[in-house]
C-alpha cells in the first residue's frame, strides 16, 4: 500500500474509531499539509517549529515539528529516555526551571511564539496547565488546593462555586464534597491525581499537559483518569506522555511516536491518528515499537 493510499484512508479509519468526532475535520488531501491535516489553521492550539531542547551540551530532543489540535487528545509515546517529557515541558516552559536547560526553535501557542525571553513564562503556564507523573497536591486542604491557582492569579469571582465546579469537572466532587477541609494528601493516589487535575483546570487553561499521569496509579484509577481525559477533551486541548501503549490507544485521538538516535537525542518518527499508528504505521520503527518488538 502506498503512502498516498494510507493517507487517504486515514480519515475514514479515524472516523470509524471515534464516531463522535468533534469540530476537527481531517483533510482528505493527503500528507501535503504536514503531519496534522487540519482544514482550519485556527484549530491548531500549539505548533512546534524546529524545536530542540538541550541540557548543557546534551541535546535531549531535536528538530521537532508538531502541531497539537484544539480539543484533541494527543499522546506522545516512545521508549524511555527519548525526550517525551522534555518535549512536553518545553511547551509550558517548565524546562526554564532547570539550570542549564535551553530550548531552540519556536513554540507557537495561539499563533504566538512563547519561547522568547520577552515572553513571561509565568503567563504561559497560566494558560497551559500541567499534571505530573506523581500526584503532587499541596499539603493543604482539598479546597485550598483547588483555590491555589485562582488565588495567585487574582481571581475575583465566587471561589466556592469555582472550587465546586472544578471538582465536578475532575469527577471528584461526590467523593470529597463532605471533606473539603481535609488535607489533599489524605486522599488515595487516584483521587489525588484527580485533585491535581481539578487544581489545573481551576486556572482555566486552554491546554493541559499530562506527564504520565497514571504511572503511579492502579488500573481502576487509571481508567477513571482516562475517562476524565476524554470528557475534558471536549473543552481542552490535551497532550499526554505515556509509557502505556494501551492507554495511548484507548484515550488519544492522535499519537506521536518518538525514539532516539545513536546520540541519545530524541526525535519524532511518526505522527498520525491513533488508530492508524497502532494498526498500520507507515514507519518500520513505529511498527516494531507498537508491536512490542522494541522498546
Amino acid at each position: 500500500m502506498s503512502a498516498q493510499a494510507i493517507a487517504e484512508r486515514a480519515p475514514s479509519a479515524d472516523s470509524k474509531a471515534a464516531p463522535t468526532r468533534r469540530t476537527i475535520q481531517i483533510s482528505t488531501a493527503g500528507v501535503a499539509r504536514g503531519p496534522l491535516d487540519l482544514a482550519d489553521p485556527g484549530d491548531v492550539a500549539v505548533e512546534m517549529q524546529d524545536v530542540s531542547c538541550c541540557y548543557g551540551t546534551f541535546r535531549a530532543v531535536r528538530d521537532i515539528n508538531l502541531t497539537f489540535a484544539r480539543r484533541e487528545v494527543t499522546a506522545l509515546i516512545g521508549p524511555s529516555g527519548c525526550g517525551k517529557s522534555t518535549l512536553l515541558r518545553s511547551i509550558n516552559r517548565m524546562n526554564d526551571l532547570i539550570p542549564g536547560a535551553r530550548t531552540e526553535g519556536r513554540v507557537l501557542f495561539d499563533g504566538q511564539d512563547v519561547t522568547g525571553r520577552e515572553v513571561d513564562a509565568v503567563d504561559v503556564r497560566r494558560r497551559i496547565g500541567m499534571v505530573f507523573q506523581k500526584p503532587n497536591p499541596f499539603p493543604k486542604s482539598i479546597y485550598e488546593n483547588v483555590a491555589f491557582g485562582p488565588r495567585i492569579n487574582g481571581y475575583r469571582g465566587n471561589m466556592d462555586e469555582l472550587v465546586e465546579e472544578c471538582l465536578h469537572r475532575a469527577a471528584l466532587w461526590n467523593e470529597v464534597k463532605d471533606k473539603l477541609k481535609q488535607s489533599g494528601l489524605s486522599l488515595s493516589g487516584g483521587q489525588q491525581q484527580r485533585l491535581c487535575i481539578a487544581r489545573t483546570i481551576a486556572t482555566s487553561p486552554e491546554v493541559i499537559l499530562m506527564d504520565e499521569p497514571c504511572s503511579a496509579l492502579d488500573p481502576r484509577a487509571t481508567l477513571q483518569i482516562e475517562e476524565l481525559m476524554r470528557e475534558l477533551s471536549e473543552q481542552y486541548t490535551i497532550v499526554i506522555v505515556t509509557h502505556n501503549m494501551q492507554q495511548a490507544a484507548r484515550a488519544s485521538d492522535r499519537t506521536v511516536f518518538m525514539t532516539m538516535g545513536d546520540d541519545r537525542s530524541g526525535y519524532v518518527v511518526e505522527v498520525g491518528p491513533t488508530n492508524e499508528i497502532f494498526t498500520m504505521p507507515k514507519q518500520r520503527l513505529t511498527e516494531d515499537y507498537v508491536s512490542g518488538r522494541f522498546g
Binding site: N92, M94, L97, P99, V122, D123, R125, R126, R127, G129, M130, F132, K134, N136, P137, F138, P139, K140, S141, F148, G149, R151, I152, N153, S183, L185, C196, R199, T200, T203
Partner: protein
C-alpha cells in the same frame, strides 16, 4: 554465627552508650534538684540578688534572659530566614555560592567567645551601644544566625521539587511559589531550628561576660541603658562563691534555667507537630 554475634555486640554497645549518657544526665539532675529545690519559692523568683543568700532572688536575671531571647528572636528570625531563602531558592549553584555556604557552616562552629570579642568591638565600641543588654542580644544574634540560616536552608531543601513544580505549573511567580507552597511546607523545620537556636542563645554565657553582663543587678534591666544580667551568668557568679548557701541558690537558678529551656523545647515540639499535621510525604 559470627555475624550474628557482631550484631549483638553492636546492639549492646549502643545500649551501653545511651544508658551512660542518660545516667550522667540523671545524676546531674538529681544533684541539682536535691540542692536547689529547697530555695525555689516565689520570693526567690521575684527577689533581687543580695549579699545574704537567704534573701537573694533572680528576678533581674529572669527578665534579662527573657528580654535577651525576645530581641534575639526579633533580629534573627527575619534575617536568618530571608538569608536562607535567598541562598537556597534564588542563587544558582556556583562556586561563590558554595564558598558562602561552607563559610556559614564554619561560622556555626566558631567558639562563642570570639563572637563576644567581635560584639565588643562592633556593637559596644564602634556603634557605641555601650555595655547594654541590646549589645549583648545583638552579639548573640550573630552567634546563632548561621544556625538559623542552615536550619532554614535544610528545611527548604527537604521540600520535594514536585511542590515547586506544582506551583510553577499553575502560573505562580517564583515568590508566589515560595510563599504559597514552599515556605508552608518548610515552616515546621524552620521554626524548630529557630526555637532550638534561641535555647542556645539563652544558655550562652561566655560572650556576655565580655559585653558587660554584670552579676549584681538589683533592678529590672533596661535594654538600652545600664547593667544587666542573665540566668547563666547569675548561676556562674553564685556558683563561684565560696559559701555553701550560694552554691545552693545557684542550683535553684539552674532549675529555673532548665525550666525555661524545657519550655522552649516543648514549644518547638508543639509547633512542629501542629504545623506538620498536613505534611506526610
Amino acid at each position: 554465627m559470627r555475624r550474628r554475634l557482631a550484631g549483638t555486640v553492636f546492639y549492646a554497645a549502643c545500649i551501653a552508650a545511651i544508658s551512660l549518657t542518660l545516667l550522667a544526665l540523671l545524676l546531674l539532675l538529681l544533684d541539682v534538684l536535691s540542692r536547689g529545690l529547697g530555695h525555689l519559692d516565689p520570693d526567690f523568683l521575684s527577689g533581687v540578688p543580695s549579699r545574704r543568700p537567704a534573701r537573694a532572688g533572680i528576678m533581674p536575671a529572669i527578665l534579662g534572659s527573657l528580654y535577651l531571647g525576645l530581641i534575639v528572636a526579633v533580629v534573627t528570625f527575619p534575617i536568618g530566614v530571608a538569608a536562607g531563602i535567598f541562598l537556597e531558592e534564588y542563587t544558582k549553584d556556583s562556586f561563590l555560592n558554595r564558598l558562602l555556604r561552607t563559610n556559614i557552616s564554619n561560622l556555626a562552629g566558631v567558639p562563642s567567645i570570639i563572637y563576644g570579642i567581635f560584639g565588643l568591638a562592633l556593637f559596644v565600641r564602634a556603634l557605641n551601644l555601650g555595655e547594654t543588654l541590646l549589645a549583648g542580644a545583638l552579639t548573640l544574634s550573630l552567634l546563632i544566625l548561621p544556625v538559623v540560616i542552615i536550619a532554614t536552608m535544610e528545611a527548604l531543601r527537604a521540600v520535594p521539587a514536585s511542590q515547586r513544580e506544582a506551583a510553577h505549573a499553575l502560573g505562580a511567580t517564583r515568590w508566589q511559589a515560595i510563599k504559597g507552597a514552599v515556605l508552608p511546607a518548610a515552616a515546621p523545620g524552620i521554626l524548630t531550628g529557630i526555637v532550638l537556636s534561641m535555647a542556645r542563645a539563652i544558655g550562652e554565657t561566655a560572650p556576655l561576660i565580655l559585653i558587660g553582663a554584670v552579676t549584681f543587678v538589683t533592678y529590672a534591666p533596661n535594654p538600652v541603658e545600664g547593667g544587666y544580667t542573665v540566668l547563666p551568668i547569675q548561676i556562674f557568679q553564685w556558683a563561684s562563691r565560696p559559701q555553701a548557701e550560694f552554691q545552693e541558690i545557684a542550683a535553684s537558678a539552674i532549675l529555673v534555667l532548665l525550666a525555661l529551656m524545657f519550655a522552649l523545647n516543648a514549644l518547638a515540639l508543639f509547633l512542629r507537630v501542629r504545623l506538620s499535621r498536613h505534611l506526610q510525604w
